[in-house]
Symmetry: C2
Subunit: 238 residues, 2 copies
């Protein structure tokens, strides 16, 4: 770790976006830890989650492993990009099942990332979570997804406020994608207009800039990622 340019923790580091982030930081000589259900062989350290039924057990498992990986060292950035997608309105027989999955994937990970950040993020570091532009309004066709992302949005506001437990000077924010250009989305939405999808490399580069203290967003901001003709702009939600 001594010779690395910086240190970053990626929650969801084996997903499509997480892998892009791991690779981008690694190629810039950063030390990278991945927290995910399966290891990312490109990361320097892997925290593998086996506890998926109990939020408190998952937290204990992850905290213990981060302690083992970092000890007294601290990181420059914590990025939580764990998540998933599921549909369903109030009448759907899968409403609760899908809401449960969305909650576990987006909110368990975000809250644990917040707790990790209270302990291992450097002062003036950055913590970014993953919301969704759609959840700024009602999402009748994907209720569980929307409510979980809305919870993440409000968590960002809490973390950015005074006495939140986040280290002094640190910035907390969330990206609010519309659609990310992932292999899974290409497979399942093959007829969509992919020129409006946000490239993973854009997000990885944005996160890298923030970690190096360039182009930092406002603390507490919710940043919509608006892509048109493969060009992405970052637009804070009002």
């Amino acid at each position: 770790m001594a010779s690395s340019a910086g240190r970053v923790l990626v929650y969801g580091g084996k997903g499509a976006l997480g892998s892009a982030i791991v690779n981008h930081f690694k190629s810039n000589n950063w030390w990278v830890a991945s927290i995910d259900l399966i290891p990312n062989e490109d990361a320097h350290s892997n925290i593998v989650i086996t506890k998926t039924d109990s939020w408190t057990e998952q937290e204990q498992e992850v905290l213990k492993a981060v302690e083992g990986s970092l000890g007294d060292e601290k990181v420059d950035a914590v990025y939580c990009v764990a998540g998933g997608w599921a549909g369903g309105n109030a009448a759907s027989s899968a409403l609760v099942k899908n809401s449960d999955a969305m909650w576990k994937q987006s909110v368990w990970s975000s809250v644990i990332a917040a707790n990790i950040s209270s302990k291992w993020l450097k002062e003036n570091g950055i913590l970014a979570l993953t919301g969704a532009k759609a959840a700024l309004e009602g999402t009748p066709g994907m209720m569980g997804y929307g409510l979980a992302k809305a919870a993440v949005h409000q968590l960002v506001k809490s973390l950015a406020a005074g006495d939140s437990g986040i280290p002094s000077g640190a910035v907390v924010t969330a990206i609010l994608p519309v659609t990310l250009d992932t292999p899974m989305n290409r497979k399942f939405m093959s007829n969509a207009d992919m020129t409006k999808w946000t490239p993973l490399e854009f997000v990885a580069d944005l996160f890298y800039k923030w970690a190096t203290k360039a182009e930092r967003p406002e603390n507490g901001s919710l940043l919509q990622l608006i892509t048109d003709e493969r060009k992405t702009s970052v637009e804070p939600a009002s």
Copy 2:
């Protein structure tokens, strides 16, 4: 049931607010069902929850019992007032434990109430959930509470939108209390200014008016309950 003036389901019907609602409707000759962890002896029908570890199991248990209680009958109103309170910022050792409890109490109940409403609420009926005024902004000292209530707020927006699965013409809303005047709050905040606490009877009466189609709020509205000198006003959040 045939001679009752109307029918109402109260999720959280044995809590302080839930009990006030049960009693108010009963005294107006309504048929009342309570859904809670323990029965409310004043209700005409009790749906007692025993599944508290799994959201899908709780849903199945409640749906089966509502089916047994109502069969093909429908209700005029569904009110979900289940919930609780817990503090803690990002550095709190109880962050996850408390967030988990808040989620289960506020969001499990609200989502199951939405599913019940898709099946058993009458057209032009009303579904009201319980949010919190505080969660309209960041809540650094009570992170789990805030994010769970923010999820409920967004769920209201989803339920009020088209194709939500909620019966035609029904109104979906949430009350956003500051502090309710409950015995528990009197016990634990005995030095607070109780003239700013909202009387339970005010909420019960409001819910009764809505159920009888009087003073209906706008569909999708989030209604702050602002009490001053023991007088409460209902103020939609913008």
